[in-house]
Symmetry: C2
Subunit: 110 residues, 2 copies
Amino acid sequence: MGLAKSEMFTDKQNLISSYAKVFGHPARVAILEHLFAINSCICGDLVDVIGLAQPTISQHLKELKNISLIKGNVEGTSVCYCIHKENWTAMKATINEFLNQDINCNTDCC
Amino acid sequence: MGLAKSEMFTDKQNLISSYAKVFGHPARVAILEHLFAINSCICGDLVDVIGLAQPTISQHLKELKNISLIKGNVEGTSVCYCIHKENWTAMKATINEFLNQDINCNTDCC
DNA sequence: TTTATTTATCGTAATATTACAATATTATAA
DNA sequence: TTATAATATTGTAATATTACGATAAATAAA
């Protein structure tokens, strides 16, 4: 078949994997890094910075917007994008809870 | 086309997205959570815990092994899997550096 | 050796993702 | 109104991922 049966997993597991999936493409990592690096928000020059075609960048931005990690503000004929601070912080908490699980295996069987 | 041209991106961006891609499926999140929860390492009962077919679990374990986040130890007829502690810690550092980027946008344009 | 048990691999169908050309949409400027 | 500019959407081809049945491989037990 195709993709996961999300009913099989907890909401948290699905949330974690949803965030991770968005980070699972280097173009989106690059877009986010650029949005962090540029103090003011950015719009279409992402196409020049990343080096992918405009529809492709737009598609990646859409996925970042869908999961609410960025927001876009129409400014004339262009759109200003930036990190959604609150949601980024919330996402970080979710991911960190997962990453910071304790390793209790003393017996080190492997 | 299909997937990303990894030459377009930095090694770090590719590394981050590689880790994230592995976390981008709830079954692998569930497998890792189970490996953390069970103090001793685990092998084939992941099939029962997760609820996917044996070849599917084996496939997911392979991806986790490929990126070195788990290791497997043959014990008789079964295989004992556990978290690769050192690599998990290293991965955490890489991901956290990405997640903890400062948000410098004072002007809050969006 | 034969049988049972566990895991890995192969083959394959269903689905998802990625990238981009072409085009539509939206808003500004002339 | 008629360009012009920036972004979004549509359609589609190429590729990747996921899931699982069937089967192979490896080991232990009888």
